[in-house]
Protein backbone atom coordinates (compact mmCIF):
# COMPACT_ATOMS: atom_id res chain seq x y z
CA UNK A 1 0.00 0.00 0.00
CA UNK A 2 2.74 2.42 1.03
CA UNK A 3 4.71 1.50 -2.06
CA UNK A 4 1.71 2.28 -4.27
CA UNK A 5 1.34 5.74 -2.69
CA UNK A 6 5.03 6.41 -3.15
CA UNK A 7 4.85 5.53 -6.86
CA UNK A 8 1.82 7.80 -7.40
CA UNK A 9 3.53 10.68 -5.58
CA UNK A 10 6.70 10.19 -7.61
CA UNK A 11 4.70 10.22 -10.87
CA UNK A 12 2.84 13.40 -9.88
CA UNK A 13 6.11 15.15 -9.05
CA UNK A 14 7.73 13.95 -12.25
CA UNK A 15 4.93 15.34 -14.42
CA UNK A 16 4.68 18.62 -12.56
CA UNK A 17 8.34 19.60 -13.10
CA UNK A 18 8.01 20.61 -16.79
CA UNK A 19 4.83 22.59 -16.12
CA UNK A 20 6.54 24.47 -13.28
CA UNK A 21 9.47 25.26 -15.54
CA UNK A 22 7.14 26.58 -18.22
CA UNK A 23 5.27 28.92 -15.94
CA UNK A 24 8.62 30.32 -14.82
CA UNK A 25 9.63 31.42 -18.31
CA UNK A 26 6.36 32.41 -19.92
CA UNK A 27 6.06 36.14 -20.39
CA UNK A 28 2.75 37.93 -20.31
CA UNK A 29 2.02 39.91 -23.43
CA UNK A 30 1.29 43.50 -22.35
CA UNK A 31 -2.10 45.00 -23.11
CA UNK A 32 -2.13 47.85 -25.68
CA UNK A 33 -2.17 50.57 -23.02
CA UNK A 34 0.60 48.85 -21.05
CA UNK A 35 2.99 48.46 -23.98
CA UNK A 36 6.03 50.68 -23.49
CA UNK A 37 5.21 51.34 -19.84
CA UNK A 38 8.27 51.85 -17.65
CA UNK A 39 8.30 51.69 -13.87
CA UNK A 40 11.02 53.85 -12.34
CA UNK A 41 12.10 53.30 -8.80
CA UNK A 42 15.59 54.69 -8.32
CA UNK A 43 14.81 56.36 -5.03
CA UNK A 44 11.01 56.60 -4.75
CA UNK A 45 10.36 53.84 -2.23
CA UNK A 46 13.36 54.95 -0.18
CA UNK A 47 11.47 58.21 0.40
CA UNK A 48 8.13 56.45 0.98
CA UNK A 49 6.79 57.41 -2.43
CA UNK A 50 5.18 55.02 -4.89
CA UNK A 51 7.39 54.18 -7.92
CA UNK A 52 6.85 56.29 -11.05
CA UNK A 53 4.77 54.75 -13.82
CA UNK A 54 5.90 56.28 -17.10
CA UNK A 55 3.54 55.89 -20.05
CA UNK A 56 5.54 55.91 -23.26
CA UNK A 57 2.47 56.08 -25.53
CA UNK A 58 1.41 59.59 -24.57
CA UNK A 59 4.95 60.99 -24.54
CA UNK A 60 5.82 59.50 -27.95
CA UNK A 61 2.71 61.08 -29.42
CA UNK A 62 3.92 64.51 -28.30
CA UNK A 63 7.71 64.31 -28.82
CA UNK A 64 10.14 62.48 -31.06
CA UNK A 65 12.40 59.91 -29.36
CA UNK A 66 15.36 62.21 -29.95
CA UNK A 67 14.00 65.07 -27.85
CA UNK A 68 13.90 62.93 -24.70
CA UNK A 69 16.66 60.41 -25.29
CA UNK A 70 19.27 62.76 -26.80
CA UNK A 71 18.45 66.37 -25.94
CA UNK A 72 16.99 65.85 -22.47
CA UNK A 73 19.33 62.92 -21.78
CA UNK A 74 17.10 60.05 -20.69
CA UNK A 75 18.86 56.68 -20.96
CA UNK A 76 17.49 53.86 -23.05
CA UNK A 77 17.05 51.48 -20.13
CA UNK A 78 14.81 51.96 -17.11
CA UNK A 79 16.77 53.19 -14.13
CA UNK A 80 20.01 53.68 -16.10
CA UNK A 81 19.88 57.48 -15.90
CA UNK A 82 19.73 57.61 -12.11
CA UNK A 83 17.26 60.48 -12.02
CA UNK A 84 16.78 62.17 -8.66
CA UNK A 85 14.05 64.54 -7.51
CA UNK A 86 16.72 67.26 -7.20
CA UNK A 87 17.58 66.91 -10.93
CA UNK A 88 13.92 67.33 -11.86
CA UNK A 89 13.53 70.30 -9.55
CA UNK A 90 16.46 72.01 -11.27
CA UNK A 91 14.62 71.69 -14.58
CA UNK A 92 16.33 68.62 -16.01
CA UNK A 93 14.93 65.25 -17.13
CA UNK A 94 11.17 65.22 -16.35
CA UNK A 95 11.53 68.81 -15.11
CA UNK A 96 12.49 69.96 -18.61
CA UNK A 97 8.76 69.91 -19.40
CA UNK A 98 7.00 69.13 -16.12
CA UNK A 99 7.60 72.54 -14.58
CA UNK A 100 4.16 74.13 -14.68
CA UNK A 101 5.35 76.64 -17.31
CA UNK A 102 6.17 74.77 -20.50
CA UNK A 103 3.17 74.73 -22.78
CA UNK A 104 1.83 71.72 -24.64
CA UNK A 105 -1.25 72.17 -26.85
CA UNK A 106 -1.61 75.64 -25.32
CA UNK A 107 -1.78 74.34 -21.74
CA UNK A 108 1.00 74.36 -19.14
CA UNK A 109 2.34 70.89 -18.39
CA UNK A 110 1.82 70.02 -14.73
CA UNK A 111 4.85 70.52 -12.51
CA UNK A 112 6.74 67.56 -11.07
CA UNK A 113 7.17 66.98 -7.34
CA UNK A 114 9.39 69.14 -5.21
CA UNK A 115 11.47 68.33 -2.16
CA UNK A 116 9.64 71.01 -0.20
CA UNK A 117 7.02 70.21 2.42
CA UNK A 118 4.05 68.91 0.49
CA UNK A 119 0.55 70.33 0.69
CA UNK A 120 -2.51 68.23 -0.15
CA UNK A 121 -2.52 69.65 -3.70
CA UNK A 122 1.20 68.91 -4.11
CA UNK A 123 0.58 65.35 -2.97
CA UNK A 124 -2.14 64.89 -5.58
CA UNK A 125 0.24 66.24 -8.23
CA UNK A 126 3.00 63.85 -7.10
CA UNK A 127 0.60 60.95 -7.41
CA UNK A 128 0.14 61.67 -11.12
CA UNK A 129 3.57 60.13 -11.76
CA UNK A 130 4.28 58.28 -8.51
CA UNK A 131 1.28 56.15 -9.28
CA UNK A 132 2.18 52.49 -9.05
CA UNK A 133 -0.62 50.64 -7.28
CA UNK A 134 -2.88 53.72 -7.32
CA UNK A 135 -5.82 54.74 -9.44
CA UNK A 136 -4.87 58.19 -10.62
CA UNK A 137 -6.93 60.29 -13.07
CA UNK A 138 -4.97 61.36 -16.16
CA UNK A 139 -5.46 64.14 -18.70
CA UNK A 140 -5.25 61.52 -21.43
CA UNK A 141 -7.29 58.35 -21.63
CA UNK A 142 -5.65 55.71 -23.84
CA UNK A 143 -8.89 54.48 -25.47
CA UNK A 144 -10.16 57.98 -26.24
CA UNK A 145 -6.77 59.27 -27.39
CA UNK A 146 -6.04 56.37 -29.73
CA UNK A 147 -9.58 55.97 -31.10
CA UNK A 148 -9.02 58.17 -34.20
CA UNK A 149 -5.51 56.81 -34.89
CA UNK A 150 -4.80 54.11 -37.52
CA UNK A 151 -4.66 50.67 -35.98
CA UNK A 152 -1.95 48.02 -35.83
CA UNK A 153 -2.09 44.47 -34.55
CA UNK A 154 0.62 44.60 -31.91
CA UNK A 155 2.29 46.89 -29.39
CA UNK A 156 -0.02 49.77 -28.52
CA UNK A 157 -2.34 48.66 -31.32
CA UNK A 158 -1.56 51.98 -33.04
CA UNK A 159 0.39 52.66 -36.23
CA UNK A 160 2.31 55.66 -34.91
CA UNK A 161 4.20 56.22 -38.15
CA UNK A 162 1.00 56.42 -40.17
CA UNK A 163 -0.60 58.58 -37.48
CA UNK A 164 2.14 61.14 -38.00
CA UNK A 165 1.95 60.92 -41.80
CA UNK A 166 -1.80 61.59 -41.58
CA UNK A 167 -1.17 64.58 -39.32
CA UNK A 168 -3.14 63.05 -36.45
CA UNK A 169 -0.17 63.41 -34.14
CA UNK A 170 2.57 66.02 -34.45
CA UNK A 171 5.55 64.95 -32.33
CA UNK A 172 7.63 67.97 -31.37
CA UNK A 173 11.18 67.72 -32.77
CA UNK A 174 12.84 70.28 -30.52
CA UNK A 175 12.67 71.52 -26.95
CA UNK A 176 13.68 75.10 -26.19
CA UNK A 177 16.79 75.30 -24.05
CA UNK A 178 17.72 71.69 -24.73
CA UNK A 179 17.90 71.13 -28.49
CA UNK A 180 20.91 72.72 -30.16
CA UNK A 181 19.83 74.25 -33.45
CA UNK A 182 20.66 71.82 -36.18
CA UNK A 183 19.51 71.31 -39.72
CA UNK A 184 18.23 67.81 -40.25
CA UNK A 185 19.97 65.87 -42.98
CA UNK A 186 17.54 63.19 -44.04
CA UNK A 187 19.15 59.82 -44.76
CA UNK A 188 18.10 57.49 -47.55
CA UNK A 189 16.22 54.23 -46.93
CA UNK A 190 17.91 50.93 -47.79
CA UNK A 191 17.29 47.17 -47.99
CA UNK A 192 18.82 44.56 -45.71
CA UNK A 193 19.09 40.95 -46.81
CA UNK A 194 17.04 38.57 -44.65
CA UNK A 195 19.44 35.67 -45.36
CA UNK A 196 16.60 33.15 -45.01
CA UNK A 197 15.16 31.68 -48.17
CA UNK A 198 11.58 32.78 -48.74
CA UNK A 199 11.78 35.45 -46.03
CA UNK A 200 11.16 38.93 -47.47
CA UNK A 201 14.12 41.30 -47.16
CA UNK A 202 13.98 44.17 -44.73
CA UNK A 203 13.26 47.69 -45.93
CA UNK A 204 15.00 49.81 -43.34
CA UNK A 205 13.63 53.33 -43.18
CA UNK A 206 16.76 55.29 -42.34
CA UNK A 207 14.79 58.43 -43.06
CA UNK A 208 12.12 57.74 -40.45
CA UNK A 209 14.69 56.59 -37.89
CA UNK A 210 16.82 59.71 -38.44
CA UNK A 211 13.90 62.08 -38.10
CA UNK A 212 12.66 60.44 -34.91
CA UNK A 213 15.96 59.46 -33.30
CA UNK A 214 18.77 61.58 -34.73
CA UNK A 215 22.10 59.86 -35.44
CA UNK A 216 23.75 59.65 -32.03
CA UNK A 217 20.94 57.74 -30.36
CA UNK A 218 21.69 54.66 -32.50
CA UNK A 219 25.35 55.12 -33.51
CA UNK A 220 27.64 53.85 -32.15
CA UNK A 221 26.02 52.60 -28.92
CA UNK A 222 23.36 50.44 -30.55
CA UNK A 223 24.62 49.98 -34.12
CA UNK A 224 28.37 49.77 -34.55
CA UNK A 225 28.59 49.18 -38.28
CA UNK A 226 28.61 52.07 -40.72
CA UNK A 227 29.02 50.23 -43.99
CA UNK A 228 25.95 48.30 -45.08
CA UNK A 229 26.43 44.53 -44.79
CA UNK A 230 29.35 44.69 -42.35
CA UNK A 231 27.27 43.93 -39.26
CA UNK A 232 25.23 40.79 -38.81
CA UNK A 233 22.06 40.80 -36.80
CA UNK A 234 20.18 37.74 -35.60
CA UNK A 235 16.61 37.53 -34.40
CA UNK A 236 17.86 35.89 -31.20
CA UNK A 237 20.06 38.91 -30.43
CA UNK A 238 17.29 41.30 -31.37
CA UNK A 239 14.78 39.54 -29.12
CA UNK A 240 17.32 39.91 -26.28
CA UNK A 241 17.23 43.67 -26.73
CA UNK A 242 20.31 44.11 -28.92
CA UNK A 243 20.37 46.30 -32.09
CA UNK A 244 16.76 46.77 -33.32
CA UNK A 245 15.59 45.14 -30.09
CA UNK A 246 16.71 48.18 -28.08
CA UNK A 247 13.39 49.76 -29.10
CA UNK A 248 11.45 47.09 -30.96
CA UNK A 249 10.86 44.84 -27.98
CA UNK A 250 9.99 47.62 -25.60
CA UNK A 251 8.41 50.70 -27.14
CA UNK A 252 8.36 50.65 -30.94
CA UNK A 253 6.22 48.03 -32.73
CA UNK A 254 7.28 44.57 -31.48
CA UNK A 255 9.05 41.70 -33.26
CA UNK A 256 5.82 39.77 -33.61
CA UNK A 257 4.87 42.28 -36.32
CA UNK A 258 7.26 40.65 -38.85
CA UNK A 259 5.87 42.32 -41.97
CA UNK A 260 6.60 45.81 -40.72
CA UNK A 261 10.34 45.19 -41.32
CA UNK A 262 10.39 42.17 -43.65
CA UNK A 263 8.46 44.18 -46.16
CA UNK A 264 10.21 43.74 -49.50
CA UNK A 265 8.24 41.51 -51.89
CA UNK A 266 9.96 38.16 -52.52
CA UNK A 267 11.19 37.76 -56.09
CA UNK A 268 9.81 34.60 -57.76
Amino acid sequence: MNRKRFVILALVLLFSIPSLAQTGTKKKRPLPYEYGRVVLNNNATKYEMAPVVFEHWIHRSKFTCRVCHVDVGFGMKAGATGIRAADIERGYYCGACHNGRTLQDGKPIFAACTNKKLTWDDQKRCDRCHSQGKRVPSDFDFITFTAPLPKERYGNGVDWEKSEEMGLIKPQKTLAGFTPKNPLVVQKDFDLNAKVEGMPDIIFSHKKHTVWNGCELCHPEIFMGVKKGNSHYSMVDISEGKSCGACHVTVAFPLTDCQRCHAKPVQP
Binding site: V70, D71, V72, G73, G75, T81, G82, R84, A86, D87, R90, G91, Y92, Y93, A96, C97, N99, R101, T102, L103, P108, A176, G177, P180, K181, N182, P183, L184, V185, Q187, T210, G214, C215, E216, L217, H219, P220, E221, M224, V226, K227
Partner: protein, 117 residues
Amino acid sequence: MNIVLRAKVVVCLLAGFVATGALHCVAQSGAQGASPPAAQAPAREVWQREFDRICSRTQEAMSFSEEELASLVQRCDALAPQIEKLDETRRKVYLGRLHMCRGLYAYVLESKRNQKK
Protein backbone atom coordinates in the same frame (compact mmCIF):
# COMPACT_ATOMS: atom_id res chain seq x y z
CA MET B 1 -13.50 127.70 -5.22
CA ASN B 2 -13.78 124.74 -2.87
CA ILE B 3 -16.03 122.98 -5.32
CA VAL B 4 -13.53 123.53 -8.14
CA LEU B 5 -10.70 122.18 -5.99
CA ARG B 6 -12.77 119.14 -5.01
CA ALA B 7 -13.64 118.52 -8.66
CA LYS B 8 -9.93 118.72 -9.55
CA VAL B 9 -9.05 116.20 -6.82
CA VAL B 10 -11.80 113.83 -8.00
CA VAL B 11 -10.62 114.14 -11.61
CA CYS B 12 -7.03 113.47 -10.56
CA LEU B 13 -8.08 110.43 -8.53
CA LEU B 14 -10.15 109.07 -11.42
CA ALA B 15 -7.28 109.63 -13.84
CA GLY B 16 -5.01 107.80 -11.41
CA PHE B 17 -7.43 104.88 -11.24
CA VAL B 18 -7.75 104.68 -15.01
CA ALA B 19 -3.97 104.87 -15.50
CA THR B 20 -3.32 102.17 -12.86
CA GLY B 21 -5.98 99.92 -14.39
CA ALA B 22 -4.58 100.42 -17.89
CA LEU B 23 -1.04 99.63 -16.71
CA HIS B 24 -2.30 96.48 -14.96
CA CYS B 25 -4.07 95.34 -18.14
CA VAL B 26 -0.97 95.95 -20.25
CA ALA B 27 1.17 94.02 -17.77
CA GLN B 28 -1.28 91.10 -17.77
CA SER B 29 -1.62 90.90 -21.54
CA GLY B 30 2.16 91.04 -21.81
CA ALA B 31 2.48 88.12 -19.44
CA GLN B 32 -0.06 86.08 -21.38
CA GLY B 33 1.67 86.65 -24.67
CA ALA B 34 5.13 85.98 -23.38
CA SER B 35 6.82 82.66 -23.83
CA PRO B 36 6.97 80.49 -20.74
CA PRO B 37 10.21 80.92 -18.75
CA ALA B 38 11.34 77.43 -19.68
CA ALA B 39 11.01 78.29 -23.36
CA GLN B 40 13.02 81.50 -23.04
CA ALA B 41 16.63 81.07 -24.03
CA PRO B 42 18.62 81.79 -20.86
CA ALA B 43 22.06 83.34 -21.09
CA ARG B 44 24.30 80.47 -22.14
CA GLU B 45 27.58 80.00 -20.32
CA VAL B 46 30.81 79.68 -22.29
CA TRP B 47 31.02 75.88 -21.92
CA GLN B 48 27.38 75.58 -22.96
CA ARG B 49 27.86 77.65 -26.10
CA GLU B 50 30.78 75.42 -27.05
CA PHE B 51 28.64 72.37 -26.29
CA ASP B 52 25.88 73.68 -28.57
CA ARG B 53 28.36 74.43 -31.35
CA ILE B 54 29.78 70.91 -31.19
CA CYS B 55 26.65 68.86 -30.64
CA SER B 56 24.40 70.78 -33.03
CA ARG B 57 26.30 69.26 -35.95
CA THR B 58 25.73 65.57 -35.35
CA GLN B 59 23.15 65.34 -38.14
CA GLU B 60 25.78 66.42 -40.65
CA ALA B 61 28.47 64.07 -39.40
CA MET B 62 28.56 61.96 -42.56
CA SER B 63 29.33 65.00 -44.72
CA PHE B 64 32.39 66.12 -42.68
CA SER B 65 35.97 65.51 -43.75
CA GLU B 66 38.29 63.44 -41.59
CA GLU B 67 40.02 66.64 -40.41
CA GLU B 68 36.74 68.22 -39.37
CA LEU B 69 35.66 65.07 -37.52
CA ALA B 70 39.03 64.78 -35.75
CA SER B 71 38.75 68.41 -34.69
CA LEU B 72 35.24 67.86 -33.31
CA VAL B 73 36.45 64.84 -31.32
CA GLN B 74 39.30 66.96 -29.92
CA ARG B 75 36.89 69.73 -28.96
CA CYS B 76 34.70 67.17 -27.15
CA ASP B 77 37.74 65.96 -25.21
CA ALA B 78 38.68 69.55 -24.34
CA LEU B 79 35.16 70.36 -23.16
CA ALA B 80 34.71 67.31 -20.92
CA PRO B 81 36.93 68.58 -18.02
CA GLN B 82 34.91 71.82 -17.92
CA ILE B 83 31.66 69.89 -17.60
CA GLU B 84 33.22 67.66 -14.92
CA LYS B 85 33.45 70.74 -12.69
CA LEU B 86 29.70 71.49 -12.82
CA ASP B 87 27.10 70.48 -10.22
CA GLU B 88 26.00 66.85 -10.14
CA THR B 89 22.85 67.31 -12.22
CA ARG B 90 24.41 69.24 -15.09
CA ARG B 91 27.48 67.02 -15.00
CA LYS B 92 25.30 63.94 -15.43
CA VAL B 93 23.15 65.45 -18.19
CA TYR B 94 25.86 67.11 -20.27
CA LEU B 95 28.56 64.48 -19.88
CA GLY B 96 26.06 61.91 -21.13
CA ARG B 97 25.14 64.09 -24.09
CA LEU B 98 28.76 64.93 -24.86
CA HIS B 99 29.60 61.23 -24.76
CA MET B 100 26.95 60.63 -27.44
CA CYS B 101 28.26 63.43 -29.69
CA ARG B 102 31.85 62.34 -29.31
CA GLY B 103 30.89 58.72 -29.90
CA LEU B 104 29.17 59.57 -33.17
CA TYR B 105 32.01 61.74 -34.52
CA ALA B 106 34.64 59.15 -33.54
CA TYR B 107 32.58 56.39 -35.11
CA VAL B 108 32.09 58.22 -38.41
CA LEU B 109 35.77 59.17 -38.44
CA GLU B 110 36.83 55.56 -37.91
CA SER B 111 34.50 54.31 -40.60
CA LYS B 112 35.86 56.87 -43.08
CA ARG B 113 39.42 55.81 -42.27
CA ASN B 114 38.47 52.14 -42.68
CA GLN B 115 36.89 52.81 -46.06
CA LYS B 116 40.20 54.21 -47.32
CA LYS B 117 42.09 51.04 -46.38
